[in-house]
């Protein structure tokens, strides 16, 4: 037994530290998860111990595990404990853990406010630094509001180390609590001229960041920044400022003109690539915003382009990439300057780095002209063949299409060439962009009438060779082009040379393996083709041909009638019936062709994609009004089966297909074999064929040879796009010659496809005329379509809230919240209230709900709200709170959700009902100049320390300065004074108070015995300074250390609580309160709030509560209520303390 105990303590001595944990994880590679779960169990044990060193070690390990992806949110409270350690070693670990693990929804963050405030004002700069760093990671709107004032004060700290951090963190505070921006801005602006360069650059940093998001509010700072820019030698500061100017110039064009010169100077002189890059970017941005009215800027652009060329030519991939990136920005406004570097860009297409190739591709988009389009696309097509990865190839494909189709096919002179490019692209294996090619084919065929005959011929060939496209299931994406091919052949069937052949191709059994929507188009267009064929055949004397065609349809269509796809099925059965009827008529020798074609008469015009949206709503039509009475809720359920029905998936076609009965299959197989035998062109399966197509059970017997497509597909009759390049060249030469001739004859004959007039410079772009009379049909738009609208700013952008006018003078209402005694503040007039309200609503328009709530909370704490608002808010808060409570109970964290500490911070959190707001700040002393309220809290870490937070409020119109706080020490309690000062010296209050301002200072006292309350006499001396005079004043006060102030809200588990009571070490005492007229939970809230207890458990009208003194005394309460009588049974290991605490509780309730 004894051995066991010894062993246990040795184990504890050798608790795993972080290194052991890391080593352990590395040694348990196989069963890492298991090992870590045992480690977590150990950590949980360690966290239960009182020793803060052990806890800190455990938290450190948890931080590591968190990085490995383990959930450590359960230890959030322990992290807070370690954060509040007085030892820097542990505090540092606690803050690190918090900054890694906490996020806005971590609820214990609420508990940290006081601790962070304490650390911020710590005399040790590293405590402050660690708190600021941590805060930068987990600052919440609550924390930002509560600590804004403290951080603002730190911006004027004596140490640049702190000032720098405080300035930087202010930015995060602004984001979370936009109301702090206006009050803090003047000081932030001051920091632009801080003697320490680090602080200065931090301030530049923050202001530039703010200004970049909402430039218009910072225009007035432009001269200051201009001065900084021309004087600073710090590249970083320069980059920031330059970026800021980039944001300002669109608002103030004059600034742009002024900027160009210093920027070009920098570009010439700097050796730092990052600065050069920034300057070039800004010059581009400035020039874009100035696009007109700058006479001299072509020189600047030229300079930029030259510098970028140097970057692109550099061997460093990074510079190359950035150079191309910046080049593409210039391209948008000054394409000509970039186009002269085409050689370089094309060279980059061969770069080994894919990301660079992609950038170069982007640039190509803007470099094409009528003259070079074919050449560039030819080059790209070569790349398509070479490309290894499908992603890059797909990218190439889309780029080719983008380049060709840009600005309404502006650069395409020969659409035959384009169609053949598209056809060539269809042999891309595994591309995802089949639909893109398809839509291009459709678009061109519909809109360029002259090309239809050619397009139809190409599409017919495609349809004929459809098996090549659909042969491999992996290439599914590409079969989309068949959709376009089928539609084009059907719609423009009058251009087909051999419509019957195409019709046959469209009705092949294999079509049934295509996706449903494509089959549907096949069926529909087969009908159109059928009409065309009939028309041709009926003209002949031989009527059997027409009847054979009908028979073909009747033979093949049943395959589609069986399709599982509804669309296919429906169209197929309609058309089948139609054809059967036609056949009947044909048998009676009736001429039907006219009537059949009439079914598909009329031209289809292209409609602009936006057309639907642009149809104006007729006057007097309310689209939101109900046409009928809205259906009742229950009816919607009836609709459900419908929805399921409509959700039919096209893929179902296959299983359905197999249902074709065996006989039929056998018959078909036989027929097919027969056909194959007779067909000399049929390619028989050979043993060497790489991959036999075997996917659809119904067609598994059809041997299809995989065709190796690395050899470019050359179908006879399908001209290769390359030919066109040559042809085009010849054509152009011829044209040029002709033109010259014409010019000689001085006969002006203007021809231009799109009505462009041009003076004939030698070989100018516009000299090139299209090969065909191209008639690009413009897309139809509805009449009186509205002009383009769109693009709003992102409503979720957090920076929107920071769009705040900074030049307006500060209003009283905008002061940063300082912890203050609420009762002391005067009520603001309702008019002012309304103003504040509306300002708050207008400025940060797009706030999330949470922030809004915070704001309300805050206002309430300042008592600027009308009572109506208040009730609403409190209700909301109550709900929230109850939710939290539930959650906490679930976790068995019975610490009165937040406890007293938090309620001090948030002020309103505790008043969960329309209950008068509570505050632990009580009046210390007051005269006509100044008012002091204070709150006394024990120090968790040090059993002999009490911290007194005093808020000083300047009540007069004069400036208060040189405040000195002094207390007459007693034997038991002493004010902590800095080393070297005498026992009667006062402490200087670290701030001055302008009129109407309040601020808080903290004083630490050491106490020996805490069992008795005591009072200390003290004096505050200060100088009241007027414009003309200054007087010395003093104010006496009595500091009352109640026993309650030695108690610290400490959560306690119910089982631990039970053990404590059972142990028998505690002495009991009880007290009865009569005439307490308040709900039980208010009563509990009051005890928690004013006396630092936490609720362990609550059952109906009975609750157990717990608290602990700074010296570790346990105080347990059992509170019962019946009617207006409340009885409190209490136990504590120190009877005197308990007696005093109970007296104080009694006092609290006798006052209300």
């Amino acid at each position: 037994m004894a051995l066991k105990i010894v062993k246990g303590s040795i184990d504890r001595m050798f608790d795993k530290n972080l290194q052991d944990l890391v080593r352990g994880i590395r040694n348990h590679k196989e069963d890492e998860a298991k090992y870590i779960s045992t480690c977590i169990d150990e950590i949980k044990q360690e966290l239960k111990q009182d020793n803060i060193a052990v806890k800190a070690n455990a938290v450190c390990k948890l931080t590591y595990l968190q990085m490995l992806g383990y959930d450590v949110s359960w230890a959030a409270f322990n992290i807070v404990e370690v954060m509040s350690s007085s030892k820097f070693t542990y505090k540092r670990i606690g803050y690190l853990a918090a900054s890694q693990c906490f996020h806005e929804s971590t609820d214990v963050i609420m508990l940290t406010t006081n601790q962070i405030r304490k650390d911020l004002s710590s005399p040790n700069q590293y405590d402050t630094g660690v708190a600021l760093t941590g805060l930068s990671c987990f600052v919440t709107p609550d924390l930002a509001r509560d600590l804004a004032n403290d951080i603002m004060t730190l911006m004027s700290h004596t140490k640049p180390y702190i000032r720098k951090k405080a300035v930087l963190i202010m930015y995060k505070v602004f984001l979370k609590y936009p109301e702090s921006l206006r009050p803090a801005f003047p000081r932030l602006k001051e920091k632009l001229e801080d003697p320490d360069p680090g602080v200065q650059s931090a301030a530049v940093n923050v202001i530039c960041e703010l200004a970049r998001r909402n430039p218009k509010n910072y225009l007035s700072l432009a001269p200051l920044f201009f001065k900084l820019m021309t004087s600073s030698t710090n590249n970083w500061v320069l980059i920031k400022i330059i970026k800021l100017f980039g944001a300002l110039t669109p608002l103030e064009p004059r600034l742009g003109k002024k900027l160009i010169e210093p920027l070009t100077n920098l570009i010439h002189s700097t050796s730092a690539m990052s600065l050069l890059y920034e300057c070039v970017n800004t010059v581009i941005a400035v020039l874009i915003s100035l696009s007109s009215g700058m006479p001299n800027h072509s020189a600047s652009i030229q300079l930029c382009v030259q510098k970028l060329r140097i970057l692109i030519e550099d061997s460093d991939q990074n510079l190359k990439y950035l150079g191309l990136l910046a080049m593409s920005k210039i391209l948008k406004t000054h394409p000509k300057s970039v186009q002269s570097h085409k050689d370089l860009i094309l060279q980059c297409l061969d770069d080994k780095d894919e990301s660079i190739r992609l950038r170069a591709l982007d640039l190509l988009y803007g470099m094409v002209s009528k003259k070079n389009l074919m050449e560039i696309v030819k080059k790209l097509m070569l790349h398509v063949d070479k490309a290894e990865g499908t992603t890059y190839r797909d990218e190439l494909l889309t780029k080719i299409i983008d380049i060709c189709s840009q600005s309404n096919y502006q650069y395409i002179t020969n659409f035959e060439w384009y169609i053949s490019i598209l056809v060539e692209l269809t042999r891309l294996e595994g591309t995802r962009h089949g639909h893109l090619i398809a839509s291009q084919m459709l678009d061109v065929a519909i809109r360029v009438k002259a090309i239809r005959a050619f397009a139809v011929a190409q599409m017919a060939t495609l349809l004929d060779n459809a098996h090549l496209l659909t042969g491999n299931m992996q290439r599914n994406g590409i079969c989309e082009v068949l959709y376009a091919a089928a539609w084009i052949c059907g719609e423009f069937s009058e251009h087909l040379e051999n419509p019957i052949q195409t019709l046959e191709a469209m009705l092949r059994p294999k079509v049934a393996t295509l996706p449903g929507h494509i089959q549907a188009v096949y069926v529909q267009n087969a009908a159109k083709l059928f009409a065309t064929v009939l028309k041709g055949q009926e003209g002949n004397t031989d009527s059997t041909a027409a009847q054979e065609t009908s028979q073909l349809m009747i033979d093949r269509l049943p395959l589609f009638v069986q399709s599982a796809n509804l669309e296919v099925q429906e169209r197929a059965s309609c058309i089948l019936q139609l054809v059967k009827y036609i056949q009947k008529l044909q048998q009676k020798d009736v001429e039907v062709a006219e009537e059949v074609s009439a079914l598909f008469a009329g031209e289809l015009n292209p409609v602009a994609p936006k057309a639907q949206k642009k149809v104006p709503v007729p006057e007097g039509l309310d689209l939101d009004a109900w046409i009928n009475e809205p259906p009742s809720e229950s009816e919607s359920e009836d609709e459900q089966p419908k929805a399921i029905f409509a959700k039919e998936e096209p893929k179902h076609s296959r299983p359905r297909h197999t249902e074709v009965d065996e006989k039929e299959l056998a018959r078909r197989r036989e027929a097919r074999k027969q056909e194959q035998a007779n067909n000399p062109f049929y390619i028989k399966a050979s043993p060497s064929s790489q991959k036999v197509y075997q996917d659809t059970p119904g067609v598994e017997h059809i041997p299809v040879v995989q065709i190796d497509l690395s050899v470019p597909l050359k179908v006879p009759g399908m001209p290769m796009s390359d030919q066109y390049v040559k042809l085009e060249e010849e054509r152009r030469q011829k044209e040029r010659a002709e033109k010259k001739k014409k010019e000689k004859k001085k006969r002006k004959e203007k021809r231009s496809g799109r009505g462009k007039k041009q003076d004939s410079g030698p070989e100018s772009e516009e000299d090139i005329t299209p090969a065909h009379m191209v008639d690009i049909v413009t897309e139809e738009m509805p009449e009186n379509a509205l002009p383009s609208d769109d693009d709003d700013k992102d409503p979720n952008d957090p920076h929107k809230a920071l769009d705040i006018d900074l030049d307006k003078p500060l209003a009283d209402s905008e002061k940063l919240p300082v912890r203050s005694h609420r009762a002391a503040e005067s009520l603001k007039s309702p008019a002012e209230d309304g103003d504040v309200e509306s300002a708050a609503i207008h400025a940060p328009k797009k706030k999330n709900g949470k922030e809004k709530r915070e704001k309300k909370k805050d206002k309430d704490s300042d008592r600027k709200k009308s009572s109506k608002h208040k009730k609403k808010k409190q209700k909301k808060e109550k709900e929230e709170k109850e939710k939290k409570k539930k959650k906490k109970h679930h976790h068995h964290h019975h610490h009165s959700d937040g406890g007293g500490e938090e309620s001090v911070q948030n002020g309103t959190v505790e008043d969960e009902e329309p209950l008068p707001p509570m505050s632990n700040y009580c009046l210390l002393a007051e005269n006509s100049y100044i008012k002091m309220v204070c709150d006394i809290q024990g120090n968790l870490q040090d059993g002999s320390q009490v911290v007194v937070s005093v808020i000083f409020e300047n009540k007069c119109d004069s400036f208060l300065k040189s405040m000195e706080f002094n207390v007459l020490d007693s034997l038991n309690s002493k004010l902590q004074r800095p080393e070297g000062s005498g026992p009667h010296d006062g402490l200087t209050v670290p701030f001055q108070l302008p009129p109407g301002v309040s601020n808080e200072a903290r004083f630490v006292f050491t106490v020996q015995s805490i069992v008795m309350p005591q009072k200390l006499k003290g004096t505050l001396t200060f100088i009241v300074k007027n414009e003309d005079s200054s007087t010395h004043e003093k104010l006496d006060f009595k500091l009352h250390f109640t026993c309650t102030s030695y108690l610290i809200t400490t959560p306690c588990y119910s089982d631990a609580f039970a053990k404590l009571l059972e142990s028998g070490d505690l002495k009991g005492s009880s007290v009865r309160l009569e005439g307490v007229n308040m709900p039980f939970h208010h009563l509990l809230a009051r005890i928690c709030f004013h006396h630092h207890f936490s609720v362990v458990e609550r059952i109906d009208s009975c609750a157990s509560m717990y608290s602990r003194s700074i010296q570790g005394h346990h105080v347990c309460l059992l509170v019962k209520t019946s009617g207006q009588t409340v009885s409190i049974d209490a136990k504590c290991d120190e009877p005197t303390l308990l007696g005093n605490v109970l007296d104080e509780i009694k006092q609290t309730f006798s006052q209300c």
Binding site: Q19, I239, I356
Partner: protein
């Protein structure tokens, strides 16, 4: 040891040395991970849920590791720009916003590696694994809330040393 980070990252890529010190702009997050895809350090300067962080990390590690060695250090990812650099077996990876300067971010990464190197004395991956809290402390002294706060390497190291000293004394 094989894991040693060579400070001359890649002879092909020349490191841009500036005459004066440079700082970076707002960074969204920084990740350090090994060639095997193991996360060694993560610092988030934007509030995200654990789930999102994990998702982003997984995606980015995959993307960056899939890049070929000769590729440039930048990539566009979602609406962010990713700047990464490999030092021996470790990848240092930062996310910045669209308008931010990539070169400065590279400089920051390099500066951080130099700081680690100075502090640990020719740093290697194991140093960072076993003293990961120190690696964080150094980063926190150097970058605050996504903005570089200290231009001078000396000052950063001084602050760290003094804080460490404080730790020893108080122990």
């Amino acid at each position: 040891m094989a894991l040693c980070l060579s400070l001359i990252p890649d002879s092909r890529q020349h490191v841009h040395r500036f005459t004066t010190n440079c700082l970076l702009r707002c960074m969204q997050f920084m990740l350090l991970f090994s060639r095997q895809g193991k996360l060694r350090l993560q610092k988030w300067y934007v509030p995200l849920s654990d789930k999102e962080k994990k998702k982003i990390t997984r995606e980015l590690v995959q993307t960056v590791l899939a890049r070929k060695p000769k590729m440039c250090s930048f990539l566009e990812w979602r609406d962010l720009k990713i700047v990464y650099k490999r030092y021996a077996s470790l990848y240092f990876c930062c996310a910045i916003e669209d308008q931010d300067n990539e070169l400065i971010t590279l400089e920051i990464i390099h500066r951080y590696v130099e700081l680690l190197d100075k502090y640990f004395g020719s740093v290697c991956e194991l140093d960072i694994i076993f003293n990961f809290e120190k690696a964080y402390f150094i980063l926190d002294e150097f970058v605050l809330g996504g903005e570089a706060q200290e231009t001078s390497k000396k000052n950063v190291l001084k602050a760290i040393e003094q804080a460490d000293l404080l730790q020893e004394v108080r122990h």
